[in-house]
């Protein structure tokens, strides 16, 4: 890792600057000051942010994970310090002694569970960590049980609306909560990406529809309530792509009964680079948000939008299900830009896909097995040293997860407008209980950008500003292997800060060390 430091051009200026808005609240890019930015209370987009996190599911083959690797993974997780985790598993791993009673009636089918296996042990280890670290977990099952080509439980026709799905869900949650003492599960994922149907024989989801999924939500809601798990919300969608998500969000938001059964509006976005680079991601999310809000006034009030899988689409190798750019600095910069654009569009939390290459595997046609390369590192001793190393996007994510905390505020700059500037975006962040504040500035241009910032909001000031620069030349990694500030200066974000944001970089100014 390059530890080179460069002097940051940073000075404190006494005077105040005013962002000029157009008349009547309408955007008039010509009259806006995009270089002197004030984060004003009035531009608060989210007043109770829910934090950032990462997919940390059950490891498909825990035997590949040595105790040293697990300990290292926990140290890496400690530093990431997420506030949200999505943890997925398969019910197949536990179901045993299944008896369909040789009839068509599904309600009288019986089965047992074998939770004494390495997969449940690993699941519990993950969830116990989350419980101990006050992490909110979206817990769920990838899809209905059964081999995709055999469908031995005959659940793929009705998918999650099958009555047995709700019972299995309640049983397994009951085991985790009552027997294992897990207290972190805040949401249940009613199957992964239900709008991605696929074909019979290769997808368990081939017969799914919004209506089937919605019936599944109602069944699960009833089953959870009956067991007393009323505080576990069901994710409203967990869909992928804007088109499919829009269908589910419209369906949920227009159905007064259904929207009371879901706990959020949840979706996945694997975003093409161009959409992020041009600032268009924010435009698309805002558009979807508005359409949903038009039907459901509860959006942003009682039901919040969350991105449960966040990643970049370009670079995806279909054969190995890995991303060719995952180890590039640009991946971290784009994911940071993605996070910023989603936050200023009202998305309350983002879960990055994913934490560790060692969780998931791709079984190739030639019989070989490869880990799916979407992680922040690989815990697999069998992977190359380069793959085991922490990737740049881990470090950029560490900065953001430690700044954008649960209960905090997100303040738009007012000038994050593609028509005004496609290459530069920024946001103000206020910590929970106004304990700290920060500025995230992302410059996607090939030239440096000179800007001034000021936060016009109350917060407990440390009178120090920790400066972090994320780019290939200036990221500072300490001896412990984790990101450090490039510099610490006396000053306050309540005053005007003049800063030179290098080309293709993220700069974070924070009143606390991240």
């Amino acid at each position: 890792m390059n530890k080179a430091r460069k002097i940051l051009a940073l000075s404190l200026l006494p005077s105040c600057l005013v962002v000029m808005a157009g008349c009547n609240g309408k955007i008039d890019p010509q009259n806006m000051d995009k270089d002197n930015i004030v984060f004003r209370k009035a531009n608060t987009v989210i007043s109770n942010y829910e934090g950032l996190g990462v997919e940390w599911g059950t490891y498909e083959d825990p035997d590949k994970l040595s105790s040293d690797s697990w300990e290292r993974s926990l140290r890496i997780m400690d530093r990431l310090n997420p506030q949200v985790v999505r943890c997925m598993l398969n019910y197949d791993w536990f179901i045993t002694n299944y008896d369909d009673k040789k009839d068509q009636d599904k309600t009288n089918d019986t089965w047992e569970y074998n939770f004494s296996n390495k997969l449940m042990n690993n699941t519990v280890n993950v969830l116990r960590y989350c419980t101990d670290h006050n992490i909110d977990v979206a817990f769920g099952c990838w899809n209905v049980p059964g081999h995709v080509a055999i469908d031995e439980y005959k659940m793929m026709e009705e998918v999650t609306s099958d009555v047995r799905w709700a019972k299995m869900t309640a049983d397994i949650l009951e085991y985790l909560i009552k027997f294992q003492g897990i207290r972190c599960i805040k949401y249940f994922v009613n199957s992964n990406e239900p709008n991605y149907k696929g074909a019979k024989g290769t997808s368990k989801n081939y017969n799914n529809t919004f209506e089937i999924w919605a019936q599944g939500v109602k069944n699960v809601r009833k089953a959870l309530d009956e067991r007393g798990f009323t505080d576990i919300g069901i994710i409203g969608g967990d869909t992928t792509g804007f088109e499919g998500t829009n269908e589910y969000f419209m369906g949920i938001s227009k159905d007064a009964e259904l929207r009371e059964k879901v706990g959020d509006y949840g979706f996945h976005v694997y975003c093409p680079n161009m959409i992020i680079d041009t600032g268009d991601l924010a435009t698309r999310i805002k558009d979807m948000y508005k359409k949903t809000k038009d039907n459901d006034a509860g959006l942003g009030e009682v039901r919040f939008p969350h991105i449960w899988e966040a990643g970049l689409f370009d670079g995806k190798n279909q054969e190995t299900d890995s991303n060719a750019f995952i180890a590039n600095f640009s991946y971290g910069l784009r994911m940071a830009d993605y996070t910023l654009q989603s936050a200023i569009s009202g998305v309350s939390s983002v879960v990055y896909w994913d934490f560790d290459d060692g969780m998931h595997f791709m079984y190739l046609p030639d019989g070989s097995v490869t880990s799916k390369g979407w992680g922040m590192f690989s815990s697999l001793g069998s992977d190359s040293a380069a793959k085991q190393r922490l990737r740049p996007w881990y470090h950029s994510s560490v900065l953001l997860t430690n700044l954008m905390r649960r209960g905090g505020k997100i303040i738009d700059s007012g000038v994050n407008i593609p028509e005004l500037d496609k290459s530069f975006r920024s946001m103000g962040v206020i910590g929970p209980n106004n304990e700290f504040a920060g500025v995230v500035a992302i410059n996607r241009d090939v030239r440096a950008a000179e800007k001034t910032f000021r936060i016009d909001e109350d917060f407990t000031d440390s009178n120090k500003i920790y400066v972090y620069i994320y780019n290939e030349n200036q990221l500072v990694i300490g001896d412990d292997g984790f990101v450090k500030p490039n510099s610490v200066v006396e000053g306050s974000l309540k005053n005007i800060i003049k800063i030179n944001v290098p080309a293709n970089s993220m700069v974070i100014l924070s009143s606390k060390e991240l």
Binding site: G241, E243, P272, N273, M274, I275, D277, T278, F313, D314, G315, K316, N317, Q318, N323, A324, F325, A327, N328, S330, A386, R444
Partner: protein, 555 residues
């Protein structure tokens, strides 16, 4: 060639299709659907749309430009024919689909589908789409595809920049490194004639010396006792007959112009004797008789064969070399996958002939005029320089910029200097450009296989491209100098449609290939040429088909 099962429309199905045929070739329409944004929905199905779902940013650019909503889907190559036939029979065709139309299924599918009104003809006047018009005008044997003066599909061009190429890339690669190693072993041996030929061009005599040299020192060169000198992909056996025969498949002409059975012609019999000799001399793998698809390739990639015959299209050769590099780390890639150029006894190279197109893009009878025009608008645009740049380089000013002559550039495309941007063309940790989905490129496959853009496509493995491109140039030069014999069925027979030919040719070809294999390997009890020839007399369909063809030829 590989046999494909013929799908025969049942008479019942034909009757039901007949009832639906009123729109065929005519206006169609009335069923156009639009998405919530008022964009015309296009349902497109193609064997190349494997990872394309129409939601990428480049598809969005086209959707916005042409006000369409793309709904692409993919055929599996292995079930492609069956899927199309099933959709025809079930009257469930997508708007636009790709079909593997060729001479052998022309009469049993294309002609039948038109007869029963399942396809919509292209407009007579294509002047609105000059690039499509040019593509069609350059299509080989285009008149054979016209029924009643109308064309019911767009032949997908192999290479729109090279329409005169009429030979296939069915050829040999060989272990040049083995040949060199064997020569090195014997370099001090008195009277030894080297088997390796600089430049990889071998006369017939030199080729025979090469295979004998390989045979003698096979274990030395390969490091295994289980290696073979020569293996053919199962559809291509016995490839060695190419140097003797004058047509690739069933029908040829005698000196009087009459159609005869190619498999019993004198020329073919000469080749067959050579093939049997190669089997008997253990030049051909003794397992060749049992080879399944791709098995010969696996043997070669496993380091257990010295010479391998296959279809080395750009895509196949790139994939083949990639596999070789991964599996044969001990060998030099270029020396291990060298293209072998053999001249037959007549002093000429011999390659199987081909049309300059592969498969067709067809329109369901239910497609409206406006929808067809929309599809043609898109395809025509994608064949323009601007559309081609979108398909190959991406979005201008994001993925690439056009620079002036004095600036640094990455590609010169017909005088237009292209500079790729870092944000649009990022490299992965292997140093190669990372994959990303460009819907424009996929859609362009509906008109051309894209060989015209390989030279400047950033994703092209340029080293492999240049090797194969040089081979193509060599073969074109040889053709111009009358040193290449293109083994091709006469077009008047190839595209002729007769009742028995349409229904029986695939079966006759399958049986003939079995007779050839049985003769070469002394299997099934026939060892002599006479016994081999007699097998063809047992099937009365040969005589019947030939009679029909000769009638068609005017005899």
């Amino acid at each position: 060639m590989k046999n494909k099962k013929l799908f025969i429309l049942s008479s019942l199905a034909l009757l039901s299709l007949g009832a639906l045929s009123s729109c065929g070739g005519g206006g169609g329409g009335g069923n156009d659907e639009y998405d919530k944004d008022g964009r015309l929905i296009l349902k497109l199905k193609n064997v190349y749309f494997d990872t394309f779902d129409g939601t990428d940013t480049y598809s969005e650019i086209l959707s916005e430009k042409f006000k369409v909503h793309l709904e692409p889907s993919n055929y599996s190559y292995d079930t492609w024919d069956e899927e199309v036939n099933t959709a025809v029979n079930g009257d469930s065709l997508p708007d636009v689909f790709q079909y593997n139309l060729k001479a052998y299924n022309f009469g049993s599918t294309y002609e039948q589908w038109i007869k029963y009104g399942m396809l919509k003809a292209l407009p007579d006047d294509l002047s609105k789409w000059p690039n499509i018009k040019s593509l069609i005008n350059n299509t080989s044997n285009i008149d054979a595809l016209k029924i009643g003066g109308k064309l019911y599909g767009l032949p997908i061009a192999n290479d729109i920049s090279n329409p005169t190429k009429d030979f296939s890339n069915f050829t040999y690669v060989y272990r040049r490194d083995w040949a060199k190693a064997i020569d090195e072993k014997h370099k001090d041996q008195a009277g030894y004639t080297p088997i390796y030929k600089e430049g990889d061009v071998y006369t017939w005599e030199e080729f025979n010396r090469l295979v004998k040299g390989f045979k003698t020192d096979l274990e030395y060169a390969s490091g295994t006792k289980q290696a073979s000198v020569l293996v053919d992909e199962e559809w291509g056996f016995p490839s060695i007959t190419n140097f003797y025969k004058d047509v690739p498949h069933c029908y040829t002409k005698d000196a009087t112009g009459h159609a005869i059975n190619a498999f019993t012609s004198d020329k073919y019999i000469s080749g067959l004797r050579k093939a049997k000799e190669f089997v008997g001399d253990v030049i051909y793998s003794q397992d060749q008789y049992l080879y399944k698809p791709n098995q010969a390739k696996e043997v070669y990639l496993g380091g257990q064969a010295g010479i391998f015959y296959d279809n080395f299209s750009f895509a196949n050769y790139i994939s083949f070399r990639k596999s070789f590099k991964r599996l044969r780390k001990e060998a030099d890639l270029d020396d291990g996958t060298a293209l072998l150029k053999i001249m037959g006894e007549d002093g000429k190279f011999a390659l199987e002939g081909t049309e300059n197109w592969f498969s067709t893009t067809m329109f369901s009878y239910q497609v409206s005029d406006s929808k067809m025009e929309k599809v043609l608008d898109i395809l025509d645009y994608l064949l323009t320089p601007e559309g081609t740049r979108l398909a190959i380089f991406g979005k201008e000013d994001y993925d690439f910029i056009i620079v002036s002559d004095s600036d640094e550039y990455d590609y010169d495309v017909n005088g237009v200097k292209i500079k790729l941007t870092e944000q649009g063309w990022e490299r992965g940790d292997d140093g190669n450009y990372g994959p990303k989905i460009n819907g424009a490129k996929y859609l362009r496959y509906m008109a051309t296989l894209g060989n015209d853009t390989k030279a400047y496509d950033p994703y092209t493995d340029q080293a492999t491209f240049e090797l194969l491109d040089d081979w193509i140039k060599d073969m074109k030069k040889a053709k111009s100098e009358n040193k290449l014999r293109v083994v091709k069925e006469p077009a008047d027979i190839d595209w002729m449609s007769t009742k028995t030919k349409n229904s029986k040719t695939e079966g006759l070809l399958t049986d003939a290939n079995n007779h050839v294999k049985n003769y070469c390997f002394d299997s099934q009890g026939y060892k002599t040429i006479e016994e081999y020839k007699a097998k063809f007399d047992e099937d009365a369909n040969w005589a019947k088909v030939l009679e029909e063809i000769n009638q068609g030829l005017g005899f």
